[in-house]
């Protein structure tokens, strides 16, 4: 064996040599029929139970949905709802009765749902200033908030279209003449409250202009405690969305009737948007979401069917 041979012999063992010669040890999985059938069966056996479990969780969620945008406009105004909602002189209170069909265990989440409301419109989404929300008036560069940036040459806090169009219907829940305890704290993400909305930032100059959008904010409460605003500021992905309003912290029994007294302030009539009130319990999965379970079952069963088809084909056309 010559020297060069020896060098090469040693070289062949180093990883770098194997790398340059493209001979690194590799795993080369081959989709043999056995593997294919196993994989499909496995997928099926994962997804069908998963689907069933999630379906069960979803079914355990009790949900009451009540549309109130039309009912809450008194009969005479129903021809022109827009002028009704824009007329401040008319009282906007309204009552709804919700019948509980099944026992609902606390906490029961209260949502308001808006339809046909483009919170995801680019003009809308961009119109905010995270810096200002955190730092208040100290932060000046709020051009992204246009067109709700200044009023009477003074900066608006919080600025932007999103804040300006804050949802301001309010709900009170009464069962058998007793008001249900509604917790409106902790409805926003904790990180939002702690780090995103300033603790020393107070609303100022808000909804003071000629154009009044949505709700007003209490200027004495810092933004970090204005949880309605924080929830609202998380723009929804789709034009139809639910937002958390609060939690009823008492159980509701079947056949209970809940009286909802609400202030129908928010204008969705201009664009024909629906407004709904939703009461819902939750499971480990979240809200009622049958689709997910069904989709899992579908995927699982299709892969089971594929496995069976492959098995049959394989038996029939033995190679």
């Amino acid at each position: 064996m010559t020297d060069t041979d020896r060098v090469r012999h040693r070289d062949t063992k180093t990883a770098f040599y194997l790398f340059t010669q493209q001979k690194l040890p590799a795993c080369k999985p081959v989709l043999t029929p056995a593997w294919v059938i196993t994989i499909f069966l496995f997928t099926g056996f994962i997804f069908i139970p998963l689907g069933l479990v999630t379906l069960r969780a979803s079914r355990s969620v009790i949900e009451i949905v009540e549309r109130y945008d039309t009912e809450c406009v008194p009969e005479p105004f129903r021809i022109d709802k827009v002028s009704y909602i824009q007329d401040d002189s008319i009282p906007k209170n309204c009552s709804l009765f919700l019948k509980v069909h099944k026992y609902m265990k606390a906490p029961i989440y209260i949502y308001y749902q808006l339809d046909n409301y483009y919170q995801n419109h680019r003009r809308y989404v961009k119109s905010r200033s995270d810096q200002q929300l955190l730092n208040g008036q100290k932060y000046q560069a709020t051009s992204s908030c246009q067109p709700v940036e200044f009023n009477n040459a003074r900066p608006i806090v919080p600025c932007g279209l999103i804040a300006w169009s804050l949802f301001n219907d309010t709900f009170t829940f009464i069962r058998e003449r007793a008001e249900l305890k509604v917790n409106r704290k902790n409805i926003a993400w904790k990180s939002d409250r702690d780090h995103k909305f300033g603790k020393n930032v107070y609303p100022s100059n808000f909804q003071n202009g000629t154009l009044i959008g949505g709700g007003k904010l209490n200027p004495r409460i810092p933004l970090s405690d204005q949880e309605d605003l924080i929830v609202w500021m998380r723009t929804s992905a789709l034009p139809s969305f639910r937002k958390l309003y609060g939690r009823i912290e008492e159980d509701l029994d079947a056949d209970d009737v809940v009286l909802v007294q609400l202030m129908n302030n928010y204008n969705t009539y201009s664009f024909g948007g629906k407004k709904k009130l939703v009461l819902s319990t939750s499971s480990w999965l979240g809200g009622k979401n049958d689709f997910f379970g069904l989709a899992c079952v579908f995927v699982g069963s299709s892969s089971l069917i594929l496995a069976i088809v492959f098995m049959l084909l394989h038996l029939k056309f033995q190679r």
Partner: protein, 1215 residues
Amino acid sequence: MARGRIRARLRRGHLYTFSCLRPSATEEGPHSIEGPGYSRIVHCNQPLMHKRRPLKYRSNYISTTKYNFATFLPKALYEQFHRVANLYFLGAAIVSVSPLSPFSAVSMIAPLAFVVGLSMAKEALEDWRRFMQDMKVNTRKVKVHKEEGLFGNKQWQQVQVGDVVKVEKDQFFPADLLLLSSSYEDGICYVETMNLDGETNLKVKRALEVTLPFDEDEAFKNFTGIIKCEDPNPNLYTFIGNFEYDHQVYALDPSQILLRDSKLRNTAFIYGIVIFTGHDSKVMQNATKSPSKRSRIERKMDYIIYVLFSVLLVISLVSSVGFAVRTKFYMPDWWYLQPQNTDDYYNPKKPVVSGVAHLVTALMLYGYLIPISLYVSIEVVKVLQASFINQDIQMYDEETGNPAQARTSNLNEELGQVDTILSDKTGTLTCNQMDFLKCSIAGTAYGVRPSEVELAAAQQMAIDLEDQDAERSTLPRQKGKQQEIELETVVTSKDEKDLKSPIKGFSFEDSRIMKGNWWKEPNVDVIMLSFRILAICHTAVPELNEETGSYTYEAESPDEGAFLVAAREFGFEFFKRTQSSVFIRERYSASGQPIDREFKLLNMLEFTSKRKRMTVIVRDEDGQILLLCKGADSIIFDRLSKNGRLYLEDTTRHLNEYGEAGLRTLALAYRKLEESEYSAWNNEFQKAKTSIGADRETMLEKVAEMMERDLILVGATAVEDKLQKGVPQCIDKLAQAGLKIWVLTGDKMETAINIGYSCSLLRQGMKQICITAISSDAKEVVKENILMQITNASQMIKLEKDPHAAFALIIEGKTLAYVLEDDMKQQFLGLAVDCASVICCRVSPKQKALVTRLVKEGTGKTTLAIGDGANDVGMIQEADIGVGISGVEGMQAVMASDFSVAQFRFLERLLVVHGHWCYKRIAQMVCYFFYKNIAFGLTLFYFEAFTGFSGQSVYDDWYMLLFNVVLTSLPVISLGVFEQDVSSEVCLQFPALYQQGPRNLFFDWYRILGWMGNGLYSSLIIFFLNIIIFYDQAFCAGGQTADMAALGTAMFTCIIWALNCQIALTMSHFTWIQHLLIWGSIVTWYLFLLVYGMVSPTISGNAYQILVEALAPAPIYWSATLLVTVACNLPYMAHISFQRCFHPLDHHIIQEIKYYRKDVEDDRMWCRERSKARQKTKIGFTARVDAKIRQLRGKLQRKQTSLETLSPITPSQCS
């Protein structure tokens, strides 16, 4: 006129190199140098004169770089934005600073800057390498006359026009020089011009007589002179100029010019004056840029990009129209957008303006359909692939130390799609190394070693015999295996043989005349004489090898070198040449002591292709004048004297045998001259030589003819033009891979056919179609005749019923000239394509290029040209892929090539392994790229429909930025670099796998559209499953609903998972690198999300703490990811499993066999698959064997049928 004269002089100068009398150099007057093109004036030894205009010429600094520091940025940027996709992204980046942009400016600019920056960095690196190479040349040292006869070292770049330089042995000339004097008294020097024209033989240059005295440093003290000459031009073989010295004008011609980049050989030193420097020098003027080539896949990719652009435009139009409609009819009602306070971008009163502005936004938003990183990823991948090619130890030639080299990385995948190989012969298939193999002296044949052709024939016969046995005794299946073994043993036995001949150029073996044994032979005189002819009759120069003490020879042709080596081995060592003598050391003399003999060289009549012979007239030590001649047998036989035909019959027989064995033959003859006879002739000859006029040439020839007659034949020699190692096996494999091989050679037809046989391009039983031109003056007649031959041949092929019949087309350059004309070339091509092998002989370099173009354009298939010499450059540049052999000849072919390999046999690995891999890698990679960008880009579009087409993206800007650059680019690069469908050994064992490339199975529109469809499906699944799952319900136990950030992040997670799982399904070869990159990409995504969630919310916005707080605790996030990933990949998985199980492609079967280790356990199956996987081929070794088997079977069957007719009761057999 001037040019013709010069050429004549040149040739003469060459012819009388070693003649004792110098032709008087100044028989012609100085050139009349006037007018444009002849303005250059050089003041010799006065470089100061050239400091100012107009005599300030370009410096000797050369630069071959594309850019310099100032031009790099603009030029390189221009190159980058030349690509339509990059231009689009540039536009997008510019617009991104305006409010039109759907993303932040940084997310548009950063990826572009990254991608363009990377490409530019690559350019800069390549240019830097060129610069370093230039610097190496520029800083070479040369001795330059400083002052007062003193010479000092100077860098090349500082050498100026007019400098006197002294160049020493084996140095390169720093510039184009005028030769003044050399270490030889008569001012000649030897030059090797390998770098210029690829010729390895030495050329002789000669100084003017008037400058001969300047042969030492001191002499240049007061030397001045003026050269007036032509302007810089690229013509290597002409030079017109005058030298004014001492009030006299002398004409200069190319024989006094030493060109830059050629090398001084066999001469101790020369002095010269610098005439052309730097880029003015002829070699630099000659440098042509090789045309830039693009691969088929890349060209097709452009179309796909256009398709995607159209899709982009369509969906942008859809969304801008949608936007305009929404803005006009709905937006006035959306009070929360303050429609009354808008600028033009959202103005309900100006929906058209808004719509048009939105078109720009949409074009940018959906830009993710166009893979921005595609080009740069492909570039990265190709560079890495190229480095794998460069590093492949199995394409490393140990003899020369040359690895294979991918000189451009553009064409890696094109290597996998080659359909036709056009090969040079000399130096490519053969070594261009002649081996002295046999000789016939005094009617006795010597030399026992067989030639390669004989060897092949013998093996063939051995196989045939075995086949016959096999036919009788064993089952046909086992026979297949035996052939395999046979093939292997052929290969190994040949290798062993090669090791046994350590002497280059000498493979002779015959104990009768070796080691001085020829003394014991009869006809000792004749043997001695023929060895002397070999040792004396040549133009070579000996060179002492200091280490071994033996002599090597610088010969004009390798044949001559082989003769000299042979003579040396027989004991007649040529060791010294002076102007007038040749010295031979005879080892085996009567006395037993080596004797040095001097032969006075009287005249030399050189070899030309017309004369086909060479003669020297010498006076030996006894005063006897001898004429020694070697030449083509036909020429010599015509000039034999009556009593010189003693051995004619035997020699002729031997010559025929040698010819059949594929050897090159020459006949040797001599004649004794009387003093008086010679002097009479010499007078005549000198007269002819000094005569002036056009008929001088013919006169000289006539005089030479007078002397070269009445010769006495002594014998003949046979040298073998050795095939390169492994060539037949390589051709066999390439043929099995379904490649067509054309041989284009400058050699004559017989040689070409011989070589064709020895490398199995031709075989017995193949029908040879020779197209020849009849000798007729009328061009029309000739053409008509050729056309008739072609149509007849085509007809014959069409009518041939035997499916195994093979045809070979052989055509000569002269005929080719007619055939390549426009009106006939299609017929010719049609015929050539039908033939199994095509051999073109006697073709010029130009014709080689033309044939290549004809094949390339006529068939529309990929062509590969392989060659080694300067004459192949045209062909190499013309073909889709040019491969240069970096062997013995010059670098010209290599410089023009796209790939270089040291030997022809490496072509097999280059194509069948690397080509196959690279093609599949790039094809899969490009397909995947389009898939992933469609899958991602379309989700953006669907989302638009839910945002009133406002141009909002559901993903955070940072996700988008990372998508192309980080999160999905590395796995696809690993696919492009490391994917192997089968290992290299299997590639070589199953050459038919290569056909997947030429048939373009992996990049046809069907497959591309399939991938696009897959992308469309994935985008739909990802988007709608996520949308519905996260629609309005709370997604976690805390009751919160998903906002845009949560939905976007969940969706993006699904995309990352789905795309990476898809690529994992696509791959079939996982090393730790692939695992790291694929799964690492997914991990990186989560890590990024974690880190991004931790930075200040003023930067991360709604993505702040999104993973930790919102998504990670929600089981539905994880299970949705799982669901979407599986749903995306399930159909693809079903598709590939179905295809693999029921319509498997070749590599699927092999993979499976390998997987089950069937190749180890079941030899028989493995062999069967191997023989099945061979492409039906009609050339190559295997085809030869197959043909033989068929022939034998036919015989057997005939025998049987005759038996049957005799005895009808015999049961019929099936074969």
